[in-house]
Amino acid sequence: MIFDSRPKVNVCVAQTGESYPCATTESLLRGMLKLGRKGIPAGCVNGGCGVCKVRIVEGTVTSLGPVSRAHVSVDEECRGITLACRVAPATAVHLQVLGKLEKPFSTAPATVAGESATLPTRQQQGDM
């Protein structure tokens, strides 16, 4: 993207195989919104409401702030579960969407996506 020179990594959604570029300084949720999927729940974006639950299957993330214990238990945290609004990718990430975030990904990927958020692909890291 011309107006966005931030370093980015590739984030892949396990359920659909879709991927999107995500800046290493932005939350996984913010990047995900660029997929243009209807109904991606961007709630409080501050770790309190729990609508953007994900499991990090592969890759590492950095914390952007606290995550509510009411929505992510200690046990879940140990299993890589967190809220997408509260972590940024440090490396390429493979994630699974959970809870309220599953529904918008329950259909096939959108046929028309944003210019840099596309259909399933494995070659996005190169140009970021």
Binding site: V45, N46, G47, G48, A70
Partner: protein, 314 residues
């Protein structure tokens, strides 16, 4: 006699420093006290009691309790009897349970939310005083909110299972605490399921509101501003402070309020609103919103419900 107004809300926050900064710099409250446990107490410039907001450090967001102030100490005993008679257990917390606050009658609403009533809180005065006061003080920060006005509680509702704690709460507030209903949303095939209510003890359209949801929680706490222009300026303040705005300035059909919704740094929703709406009175006919016009009731201009508005809460 009885309940006068909302007295304070006690909120759980996950980052105290960020929360205090938010309520001070964005809403314009001031910290009046910090206790040994690290809880912060804040108030708006136009409020005269010591605090209207308690921030408590926690590993999650949400409401600890909401408190309403009653007029006389004896009201606490009268109301304890009526709450118990309604079938809700109560506890009388001794003076000093909360600093600068008298004894508190504690109980849970049918929706599970903890409510407290108290008659005494330390008087510290508004920032303009009582003697030939200026209309507003110098040095206000952010939105410069006047006062904590009301809150909206999400209440567990599951009609097929016969659970509707919106209706239960509404009946409790009327019968045990002598609130009156100003507006309601009726849904369902027969339009007879009370899915949301707005209730008052003052002369404003709501001192508390209940909306049905999958589980009980806090939808928002709301602060009063003077005018539509103040609402716009509050949005500027939010943009300046990189606050997540949930719903940009608009108007509610319900209560006629001019509003913005946004989130504190732990994800608790706040509202700044202007407009007294109308004179709420016990003999004013109740306003009813139907399921098909609910969108207009919530956001009058677009007439469309924002998904996050009903699905996202703490």
């Amino acid at each position: 006699m009885g309940v006068m107004r909302i007295g304070h809300a006690s909120l759980k926050v996950m980052d105290m420093a960020a929360a205090v900064k938010h309520y001070e710099n964005v809403l314009g409250l001031k910290t009046t006290m910090v206790d040994k446990a690290g809880n912060a107490y804040l108030k708006c410039w136009d409020e005269w009691d010591k605090y209207s907001l308690i921030l408590t450090p926690s590993d999650q967001a949400g409401l600890n309790h909401v408190a309403y102030k009653v007029e006389k100490e004896a009201d606490l005993d009268t109301l304890q009897r009526s709450v118990e008679a309604w079938g809700v257990k109560t506890t009388m917390l001794p003076e000093g349970t909360l600093p600068s606050t008298g004894r508190m009658l504690k109980f849970n609403l049918p929706s599970g939310h903890e409510m407290r009533l108290y008659a005494m809180k330390e008087y510290v005065g508004t920032e303009v005083g009582t003697q030939n006061p200026d209309p507003w003080p110098d040095g206000l920060k952010g939105a410069g909110a006047h006062w904590l006005d009301h809150l909206l509680l999400m209440c567990e509702m599951n009609p097929p299972e016969g659970i509707n704690t919106v209706a239960d709460n509404t009946r409790f507030m009327i019968e045990a605490l002598d609130f009156f209903l100003t507006e309601q949303v009726l849904v369902g095939p027969n339009g007879d399921i009370q899915a949301a209510t707005w209730m008052s003890r003052t002369t404003t359209p709501h001192d508390i509101a209940f909306v049905g949801g999958p589980k009980s929680g806090l939808h928002h706490i709301a602060y009063f501003l003077d005018s539509w222009h103040d609402v716009l300026k509050a949005a500027d303040v939010m943009a300046k402070n990189k606050v997540k705005i949930d719903v940009a300035p608009t108007r509610h059909g319900i209560t006629r309020g001019e509003t913005i919704y946004f989130f504190d740094p732990s994800g608790n929703r706040n509202e700044t609103f202007a407009g007294l709406g109308y004179l709420a009175q016990r003999d004013r006919p109740v306003t009813t919103w139907s399921e098909d016009k609910l969108g207009s009731g919530i956001f009058y201009h677009t007439g469309e419900l924002v998904a996050s508005f009903t699905d996202v809460y703490t």
